[in-house]
Every structure is written in structure tokens, then in C-alpha cells.
Symmetry: C2
Subunit: 215 residues, 2 copies
């Protein structure tokens, strides 16, 4: 009976890691759609979010069932509760990839991001990608040290966001209002993607150490 329980718990964590990989791919696809004005790819990200939503709901159902039927205590309870919180993060990360894809779609056949700003957006996307990848490994391996390193990567994201806003507001902006607004919102979306990766990592640290870090 308990063996079966731990099998189910492991399978939930496996599915959480797989879902993190799915979300990571969605973010990468949304960024590619954005930088290449690729309409079909943007549509596939937007349509694909239903699968993320359904997977979130399916894992949530199984987690609740385990909570209800096995009535776990202590660290097992914490694991299941952390799973529910991480599912909220993943759901939001899926929605954020859709937001990026929708900015891409809105400007097609143009590329929403002016050429000069593409390196900044690429750097933000790449930082978000690293952070989501790290979160996935942290969940899979309960790696507290990697969670600390993730906070450093988040500082890099912060630096990139500030750089983006300095460029937008520096007085030499010549691309008009529309790309400026697109970029401000895109900057926010990538920043939030990173925040959710940090939030997932903090849940794991809490599981391992029993101490919650403030946000």
C-alpha cells in the first residue's frame, strides 16, 4: 500500500518535470515565432496551451486524490502541497508563452521587435530558458545549491530588464510607440517567466530545508 503510494508520488514529480519541459519548449517556440514573425508557429503555441492546461488539471486531480486517500503527513504532505503551488506556476508560465506568441501574431508580417532590440530580447529569452531548465532539474533532483544559483540568474534577468527600459526611455528611441509598448510588455513577460522559475525552486528548497525564503 505505501509502496504504491510512493510510486504515485514519484510519478507525479516525474510528470511535473515533464510539464516543465513542455512549458520550456512553448517559451522557446514563442520566442522563435516573435523573432521570425512566424505565424504558424505562434498559432501552435497559442493552441498548444490547452494541452498545458489539461496536463495541469490532470496532475492536480491526481495530487488531490492522493491527499484525500492517503492522508499524508509531514514531508509527504509538504511535497503534495508544493506540487499544487508549482502547478500554478507552470499554468502561468504557459499563459505567458501565449502572451509572447500573441504579440508576435499581432505584428505579422512584420517582426514586432526592431532589429536593434533583438539581441536584448534574445538575451532575456535565453535567460528565461536557462531558469526554467534549472527549475526543472531542481524539481527532479531536489538540488538546493542549484536553487541558490538560480537566484543569481534572476539578477541577470533584472539587469536585462533595466537595460531594456533604459533603451526605451533614453531619449534616442526612434521606433515609435507601438514597438516600445510591445517591448515593455515582452520584457515583463520574460521577467515573470523567470520569477515563476524562482518560485518553483523556492518551493523545493522549502521541501528540503523546511524554511521558506521570502520573495
Amino acid at each position: 500500500m505505501r509502496d504504491q503510494y510512493y510510486e504515485q508520488l514519484d510519478s507525479i514529480v516525474d510528470d511535473l518535470v515533464t510539464l516543465t519541459g513542455t512549458v520550456r519548449k512553448a517559451v522557446a517556440a514563442a520566442t522563435a515565432a516573435l523573432l521570425n514573425a512566424d505565424g504558424p508557429l505562434a498559432e501552435s503555441v497559442i493552441a498548444g496551451d490547452r494541452e498545458v492546461e489539461e496536463t495541469v488539471e490532470a496532475i492536480e486531480e491526481r495530487t488531490l486524490l492522493l491527499l484525500a486517500t492517503q492522508q499524508p503527513v509531514a514531508s509527504d504532505l509538504r511535497q503534495l502541497v508544493a506540487t499544487l503551488r508549482m502547478l500554478t506556476d507552470l499554468q502561468r508560465m504557459g499563459a505567458l508563452s501565449v502572451h509572447v506568441a500573441k504579440v508576435a501574431r499581432l505584428r505579422i508580417p512584420d517582426v514586432a521587435v526592431p532589429t536593434a532590440m533583438q539581441p536584448t530580447i534574445m538575451a532575456m529569452a535565453s535567460t528565461a530558458d536557462q531558469m526554467i531548465h534549472a527549475a526543472s532539474r531542481i524539481v527532479a533532483e531536489r538540488d538546493v545549491d542549484a536553487a541558490t544559483r538560480l537566484e543569481d540568474t534572476d539578477d541577470e534577468m533584472d539587469r536585462l530588464r533595466k537595460q531594456l527600459f533604459r533603451t526605451l526611455l533614453g531619449g534616442n528611441w526612434e521606433h515609435g510607440i507601438e514597438p516600445a509598448i510591445d517591448l515593455a510588455l515582452l520584457g515583463r513577460y520574460y521577467e515573470r517567466l523567470g520569477d515563476h522559475a524562482v518560485s518553483m525552486a523556492r518551493r523545493v528548497v522549502y521541501l528540503v530545508t523546511g524554511e521558506m525564503q521570502s520573495s
Copy 2:
């Protein structure tokens, strides 16, 4: 023993309702700071978020303790899990009120919002306020009909956001890049505040009907 359990459960719901009121006040104060360029008020919202964070953590602790010690099943379990999810919403709503206050602070002594745009921001803030107030009553009274009406109010928020972006991008914008970006982000913050109120209401509907509405 069970009586004490239900007392604790009721007290958690009461505290959730109170916290929703606190967050609602923070949003109203942030909007007032924004529209009046009121520095001390903006600072008080930013500093006050620590109290929201601490209250969230305290309620979360008590919810987990109840989960661990009482091992509730069925609807009691769902109530506690819904509480954890609503705490995530409230935590984010607190953070969003801080974001609004920080836009205010950044532009002081100027008012971040150009005079012509103030009615739109007031309407968005007022809609968010109504939605948070409705969410609070829905949580307190498990009012499923009010949750349906809340979705209509969310449509109004959507309409206001579209109106805001039409003005920003309509070609007659004469206030420059900085206010345009501020307004795009502010629009997003108020919209997200409304989204979280809807999310809270949906959790209550799920508790009452057992059916989760898709987002």
C-alpha cells in the same frame, strides 16, 4: 475535536476575507498615490506589502497544520486546498498593488498618468476594486451567482484595456514614450488584479459545484 476543527476552518476563511479587504485597500491606496503623485502614500503601499506577505504565510501555515493534523477528506479537503490557491492569488494582488505604487513613485513630483488618460485609469481601478470586493463576498458567502456576475465585470475590464491600447496606438498620442509605457504596464497590472479576483471566485464555484471552469 471536530467542532474545534470547524472553528479553525471558519477562522481561516474569515482571515482570507479580511486579507482580501486589506489587499483591496492597498490597490485603492496605490491608485490614489498614482493619480495624486502622493509619495508618502506610495511608500506606505510598498512598505505595507510585507504585512500582506506575512499574513499570507501565517494563514498558509495554519492551513497546512490543519491538513496535517485533521487529515480532512472530500469537501473539507477541497476547502483547504482552495484556500492555498487563493492565498497565491492574494499574494500576487499585493505585489501588483506595489507595482502600481512604484510607477507612481518613479514619476513624482509629476503625475505618471496624463490628465486625458486619468478617467480610463480611474475606470480600470474602479473595476478592479469592484471585482476584488465581489471576490471577497463570494469567498465569505459562497455565492455562486455573484461569481457569474464577476465574469461580466471582467468583460468590462477587457473592454477598458482594449480602449486604453487603442488610445496609445491610435496615432494621435502626444505624450511621448514614457507615459505610454507606464500606461501599458498599468493597464496590465489592473487587468491582472481582475484576473486574480476571477480566479478566486472560480475556486469558490469549484468548492460549491465540484466543477472547475477553465480560464
